[in-house]
């Protein structure tokens, strides 16, 4: 959705990176609303709440995908900007500028989040909620608000990520399946709860995919992320840096 929203704004002449940044607060609010709805509807009594919650998000994801297909068609969409299409030369290597932009922004975002999670009260509360909700409540923080806030941040980050995605390359509605794999792979490989780990894991995945792409061809590339994911789940589910 972030990618497509960026696409729409770019159609109005907004620079895609700026669009991504502008979209973040919008998506943040959206994320808060979604989590609030999720919480009031699903968390609480009953034994199959977990099932319902997961099914809900799955259904929503499916609806979004089909909705995007109906709205935009299955063709790929792309945006244009000054830094797309040009490269910087370093001796023998040519680095595409749009990749550098994406890399820079991603690095900045990850660092900001890592600092936020470790230095601010809300950030540390987010980490604490995963560890011990009861204790957190005793310390005066409302776990529900914290989780909702975290969900909002996550959604906002997705908006920016979507913008970066469409900057780096064309997108189509079927992309979500591929990126679900990559996302889960990076998160599981890094270990739940490790921000810095995601950088390392992302790098590992990127390198692995490139290797597979050049040796085995494009046909095998989608399986790399999921393959690594299953490997990690089997061998060391806590991930590289997980608790």
């Amino acid at each position: 959705m972030g990618a497509y929203a960026t696409y729409v704004l770019a159609g109005y002449g907004v620079d895609p990176l700026l669009a991504g940044l502008l979209l973040m607060p919008v998506f943040f609010a959206f994320g808060l609303a979604v989590y609030q709805f999720y919480y009031t509807t699903f968390e609480g009594r009953g034994s199959d709440q977990g099932l319902r919650g997961i099914a809900f998000f799955f259904g929503v994801a499916f609806i979004v995908q089909v909705g995007l297909i109906l709205a935009f068609g299955v063709d790929q969409r792309f945006v244009e900007a000054d830094y797309i299409g040009t490269s910087i030369e370093f001796g023998e290597m040519r680095l595409p500028q749009r990749m550098l932009v994406a890399f820079g922004v991603a690095l900045a975002l990850t660092t900001t989040l890592a600092l936020y999670l470790s230095r601010t009260f809300t950030g540390r509360a987010i980490k604490a909620v995963a560890q011990d909700e009861g204790a957190l409540r005793l310390m005066g923080a409302n776990p529900v608000r914290i989780k909702r806030w975290a969900f909002g941040i996550a959604t906002a980050t997705c908006a920016l990520a979507g913008a970066l995605l469409i900057i780096v390359g064309p997108v189509d509605p079927n992309l979500d399946r591929l990126y679900i794999g990559r996302t889960f792979c990076v998160v599981v490989l890094a270990g739940l709860g490790s921000m810095s780990g995601t950088l390392v894991a992302g790098l590992i995945l990127g390198v692995a995919e490139s290797i597979v792409l050049s040796t085995a061809g494009t046909a095998w590339a989608p399986a790399v992320a999921f393959g690594i994911l299953l490997l990690v789940l089997g061998v060391r589910p806590a991930g590289l840096f997980g608790r």
Partner: protein, 241 residues
């Protein structure tokens, strides 16, 4: 008296936090054993390690002469260790009766038995504990004290040799505490070894023959209820230095 449960030098860490630090204790067969300690001292962690919900990092657990440290929880239950949970965990989609049928089918009568037979057995347990009239009530519609009784009776249904009661009386009125205490006394009279974790001090004092006190993952005191209460370390642990 022979030792039913021997905990030898048990340790358990959660990341950087040491929950149990070399805990050793023996519980004799038929004993009424009390376990006290301030919040966060490691009582429930100890119980979780003994019952198999958690894996201990170091040390050994021996039950009835057999080393059980590597066994999964359900096999420890089948060997005779049963426990109730601090916050009751009923099988919410089942009635009170059906909740008891689960351990009956999976521990006592592993093999082939129809619910008709186990139903009668479950009813008998419910009668003994005072929940017989609630047999068909969905377990997510019970009051607090009824839930505690369900927890205990489900543990009892597994016909354990050792029953661990984890803060079954928290938040109950004085009458309700007496009710639960009576049930535990009766079980012990029938030969079941009982470990009671409690904050409700009069219950622990009345019930236990021997008490240990945990603080920050270590045993700081062991003895009769009377001596424990007067121990300065115990008082410091509960009231602060």
């Amino acid at each position: 008296m022979a030792s039913l449960l021997e905990v030898k030098d048990l340790s358990k860490k959660f990341g950087g936090f040491t929950a149990l630090d070399g805990v050793s204790v023996d519980v004799a067969k038929g004993e009424r054993f009390g376990l006290i300690g301030p919040n966060g001292s490691g009582k429930t962690t100890l119980i979780n390690c003994v019952s198999g919900v958690l894996d201990n990092d170091g040390g050994r657990i021996v039950f009835g002469g057999e080393e059980i440290s590597r066994l999964p929880a359900y096999q420890r239950t089948r060997r005779g260790i049963a426990r109730s949970f601090q916050i009751p965990r009923p099988f919410t989609s089942m009635s009170v009766l059906e909740n008891l049928v689960v351990p009956l089918e999976y521990v006592v009568h592993r093999g082939s038995l129809h619910i008709a037979d186990t139903g009668a057995e479950a009813m008998q347990i419910l009668r003994g504990i005072g929940l017989a009239d609630k047999a068909d009530t969905p377990s997510n519609q019970l009051s607090q004290v009824e839930l505690r009784k369900l927890e205990l009776s489900r543990a009892m249904a597994a016909r354990p040799q050792l029953l661990i009661s984890d803060e079954a009386m928290a938040g109950l009125s004085a009458n309700e505490v007496s009710e639960v205490l009576e049930i535990l006394f009766k079980l012990n009279a029938d030969g079941i070894t009982v470990i009671m974790i409690e904050h409700v001090m009069q219950a622990v004092m009345k019930f236990s023959q021997r008490v240990i006190c945990l603080d920050a993952g270590k045993i700081i005191c062991e003895g009769t209820p009377a001596s424990i209460v007067q121990n300065p370390d115990v008082q410091r642990a509960y009231l602060g230095a």
